[in-house]
């Protein structure tokens, strides 16, 4: 293995902090001067920032585990691309795809959602929202998803480097100051517009736009939804949290999972579903998953059925199935 001292890559984590502070001050200034769209609220923004500080602190343990695991996998690498311009680029793209897959899982598996829900729990959308990050990522086991990259032969420090650039890019997405960008950019890249969709609880926008730097993954896998003027994003969760207490912001979904799992009278399958089924699953139908919320929305707004992000009306599908294809 190349010694760590031989790999000369900038520490993106450290470089990002001035970017965060300056970025927030610029966004705040533009909003106050009336030059840009956006809203800040004191307690909300400070909660987000302190969640970010806690994420950095807990992230040290995560980083130690992650580097140890990646170093182990790297020792069994099947290729040896080294660190050069094309390996950096390839690693960046593959890591971005890995992030897309992971992000989709974060929204569809409750065990992972318990961690990621924190990032979505603000009803505001500004650069501080980007820093509202979880403290419990170590419990998701997500470091395992990094192993294929190291096993392919990308150096652990290179993987951390491209990840750092990815996160810095994502920080800049969390703003209302930027509308829609030039069409080719909106087609390929994740943009503030696409990520506003991702942070919205409007039924059509649920479970959409998981991409981090590139939005093409969503276009390829059918999870892309365009931001629409007639359905402006309503930021936050389907059921918003009513607290700025950092402990509950960080751990509320873990507490809910625990309470659900220990309920008396459930089967083992039901207990497992409370841990690993999509968020909103319940054994008695008392809650709604995003699929059920989308179905409810089209029942109430049949004219919207089949549009991007929304299902067809159930009756319409059945009727279509009965039509014989013309020869």
């Amino acid at each position: 293995m190349d010694s760590l001292a031989n790999i000369q890559l900038p520490n993106t984590g450290q470089l990002a902090i001035p970017l965060y502070v300056v970025g927030i001050l610029i966004e705040l200034g533009l909003i106050w001067l009336g030059k840009a769209k956006g809203q800040y609220e004191h307690k909300d923004a400070m909660t987000s920032l302190l969640m970010g500080v806690g994420n950095v602190a807990t992230g040290i343990i995560y980083a130690v585990v992650l580097i140890a695991m990646m170093t182990w996998a790297y020792n069994y690498r099947i290729f040896d691309p080294g660190v050069n311009w094309w390996s950096i680029l390839l690693c960046f793209v593959l890591d971005d795809f890995r992030r897309y897959v992971y992000h989709a899982g974060l929204h569809r598996i409750r065990w992972w959602w318990a961690d990621h829900v924190n990032h979505h729990s603000s009803q505001h959308y500004n650069l501080t929202t980007a820093l509202r990050q979880p403290w419990t990522t170590i419990f998701t086991g997500s470091f395992l998803l990094y192993l294929p990259l190291a096993w392919l032969g990308f150096h652990p420090l290179l993987i951390l480097f491209v990840g750092g650039i990815n996160l810095a890019y994502q920080f800049l997405l969390h703003t209302e100051t930027v509308g829609k960008l030039w069409k080719p950019i909106e087609y390929v890249m994740n943009t503030p517009s696409h990520h506003r969709v991702h942070h919205s609880s409007n039924p059509r926008y649920l479970d959409a736009n998981y991409g981090c730097v590139f939005i093409i993954w969503d276009r390829i896998f059918g999870t892309f939804v365009e931001e629409r003027e007639e359905d402006m994003p309503k930021y936050g969760l389907v059921q918003n949290i009513g607290t700025f207490n950092l402990f509950y912001v960080a751990f509320h979904e873990w507490i809910s999972i625990f309470k659900d799992v220990i309920r008396p009278g459930l089967t083992m399958r039901e207990r497992l579903m409370y841990m690993f089924a999509p968020p909103g699953w319940s054994h008695d139908g008392s809650r709604k998953t995003s699929e059920e919320l989308k179905a409810q929305y089209v029942r109430l707004h049949p004219d919207q059925a089949g549009m991007e992000g929304l299902p067809e009306l159930p009756g319409k599908n059945a009727a279509r199935g009965m039509v014989q294809p013309a020869e």
């Binding site: 520490n11 450290q14 609220e41 004191h42 009513g242």
Partner: protein, 141 residues
């Protein structure tokens, strides 16, 4: 970067942003203008509830909380959080306790850990009694 410089940047940045936001924030946070606003916010989050099912709306003195007592299906609860609102439909599994507090006050505790306990003041004893009775009936306590 020197860890001390980095730490200083984080702490300094936090303090600076905190001061700026304190100066700019509106005092008191979100207020419900009227009953219609409370109903609109409730219906937006619970669109399956028929508007004909909406009964009496009672707002607290500070206009930061409203209860929307439905004819058949639980009690709607709209609560200000900063300059935004949090909405719930309080049914049988949501309330841990409902206690009268003085002449016109009410103390609520919720099972949902993201809803912190509420100490509310109503404009009249009649409002408080009506909300308390509706919540107790809805919660079966």
């Amino acid at each position: 970067m020197n860890p001390l410089v980095l730490g200083g940047l984080i702490v300094g940045g936090l303090i600076l942003i905190d001061v700026l936001l304190r100066l700019a924030s509106k005092r008191g946070g979100g207020r419900l203008e009227n009953d219609k606003e409370a109903i609109d916010r409730f219906i937006q989050e619970f669109p399956e509830i028929d508007s004909s099912d909406i009964g009496r709306v009672v707002t607290t003195q500070d206009r930061r909380h409203a209860f929307i007592v439905n004819r058949s299906d639980g009690v709607g609860f709209v609560r200000a959080l900063g300059d935004r609102f949090v909405v719930r439909l309080l049914g049988s599994k949501d309330l841990a306790s409902v206690d009268d507090d003085g002449e016109t006050g009410l103390k609520l505790r919720f099972h949902d850990v993201t809803l912190r306990p509420a100490r509310l003041l109503f404009s009249s004893a009649d409002d408080r009694d009506f909300v308390a009775a509706s919540l107790r009936q809805s919660a079966g306590i």
